[in-house]
């Protein structure tokens, strides 16, 4: 192409209207395109998740149903663990995905390229988390399809229990994503991996009762007390009440979980935004937007 032609095309313009939703779409679109560039990673991830469901099926055969029923969670260990396994992917997405992505952007020098465009950095950061949510959604659907369709797990899926599950699920995302924002803000400044996010996610998975009833922790009061400090504990409890026991929003246990989760969300979400903003401002103050 000749230079004159390029100049003519570049000079043809229309007014640029700032549309945050369109920018958000651009972030999500590019992020999903990149994900499809890692085809073998995606296939391995799907296979390993489904393999873990089958593994819990066999573990469930070894678990004494009395232990579960004494805790009030029915008799199917697979139903119990499936709720934990399916949602723990989301937990990791919420807590770790953003800080991983920020590390990657700083190392790659792309964070600066984004930061000099008119996009609001919060739009960009939140857009970056969507990919993790989508992958987790695929895994979640897959896990339930394998569990219910393939291994015969039975859940109480009435409209009331599903409504309660959905609300608890949304609150779980908000409260844990707020923790993820805090971790991302700290990672941006300290640039030392994301030990906080990793620690919180691992402790959550261990202490919130993903694979065992929390009642089993009664012999360890300190651990039980720590488990009560994680929003995920309440989300799991509520979702199990709804899906395994058929509880609705009117159930006192579900209602308590929703209230606690709402409290966590209301408290953590503003803190998350403040810490993320602080992190971004700090790296602009100390000139480390491209060093990790």
């Amino acid at each position: 192409m000749k230079q004159a032609e390029l100049v003519r095309i570049l000079e043809e313009d229309k007014p640029h209207v700032k549309l945050p939703l369109r920018q958000f779409y651009g972030v999500v679109w590019s992020s999903i395109k990149m994900m499809f560039a890692y085809k073998s990673w995606m296939i391995m991830d799907l296979l390993s998740t489904f393999a873990s469901v089958v593994m819990y099926y066999f573990v469930g055969l070894q678990v004494n149903p009395l232990i579960l029923s004494e805790s009030g969670w029915g008799t199917s260990y697979l139903a119990f663990s499936l709720v934990g396994v399916a949602t723990s992917n989301y937990l990791w997405s919420c807590l770790v995905r953003l800080s991983h992505s920020i590390q990657h952007e700083i190392r790659g020098g792309t964070l600066e390229t984004i930061a000099v465009t008119p996009v609001n950095m919060l739009t960009f950061f939140i857009g970056q988390t969507v990919r993790g949510y989508l992958v987790s959604l695929i895994l979640l659907v897959g896990i339930f399809v394998v569990g219910i369709g393939g291994l015969g797990v039975h859940f109480q899926m009435t409209s009331a229990s599903l409504m309660a599950t959905l609300l608890l699920f949304i609150l779980m995302l908000i409260s844990n994503q707020a923790l993820g924002l805090i971790a991302a803000g700290i990672v941006m400044v300290h640039k030392r991996g994301d030990p906080i996010a990793f620690l919180v996610a691992s402790m959550n998975e261990f202490l919130a009762g993903v694979l065992y009833p929390l009642e089993m922790l009664s012999a360890f009061p300190l651990l039980q007390a720590v488990s009560m400090m994680f929003p995920y504990t309440y989300a799991l409890d509520g979702m199990r009440r709804a899906l395994i026991l058929g509880a609705s929003l009117a159930d006192a246990g579900v209602l308590t979980d929703i209230l606690v989760l709402s409290g966590f969300s209301a408290l953590l979400a503003p803190v998350g935004f403040v810490v993320l903003n602080w992190g971004y401002r700090t790296i602009r103050e100390n000139g480390s937007t491209s060093s990790y």
Partner: protein, 326 residues
Amino acid sequence: MYAVETLGLTKYFEKKGSKSARIVAVDHVSFGVKEGEFFGLLGPNGAGKTTLIKILCTLIIPDEGTARVAGYDVMKQPDGVKESIGWLHGETGGRALYWRLSARDNLMFYAYLQNIPSDVAKKRINALLDFFDLTKDAERLVKDFSTGMKVRVMLARTFLPNAPVLLMDEPTVGLDALGAIETRKLLRSVCKDLGKTIVFTTHNIVEAERLCERIAVMDKGKVVAIDTPLRLSEMTRKFRGVEVKVSGSQEDALKVLERVEGVKRVRNVRPEEDHTVIQLEVVNEDEALTRIPESLRKNGIRLIGIQVALPTLEEVFMSLTGGEKE
């Protein structure tokens, strides 16, 4: 009005390992860049060029002073600044692209963030890919590109928003000699045709001399001089002299030149392929420019050219920055 203007711009950084000690990265820098001007920031590594250009594109928050780009204050109106600039960070050697996206998708993503309407963006992307000779590789992932190709994608991205001000940090770093020459040629001609204002950093003196209408020489965070390459040369010259190009016998020419009235001494003799360049220190350049051709002609020595001797930009740079150069 200036397209880019700074006033007392200052940035401190904490010294590594000491929270109380700090270093001045940019030290009370003031300058103005006219609309359509090609302006260079020249200095050795650590001079403060990158910090300065990053302040201009809102990536770094200054501690003191003000800066305006396209009329927008970098602190108070960062969105206005971002909508008015195209940015290229050449030092990354193509890192600042998404390697798992194709060249076209990298540009489209940037178009989304820049709020460029889709139909305009698609047209521009096609034109830029074609202009930078990337059309046949447009759908390939950038990870498979050579460094030169990655820099061309970055250049295309810089031009995509058609912003009035282009801020470029070491745009030719990582390119081979031919790639660097082509990029310089392109920057000069395209930017002139589009009427862009360009501020770019370099530690390459030849690049600064060839591209820039004016240069700010930076050292230890300070701007030590700002002017055209020619005036910077005049400013720092330490002797009055002329440079004479002659063909034929070098010895004969030297004998004649040493006898010309007003010639104090021969400073330098540089034999070239088919002629010799002789630098002379003289009492008065104007008189020397008249007398020397006459004497050479009378003695049958062929004169190819004669001009006032000015220091090269390299000598200027060394003189202004205390002898240190990259």
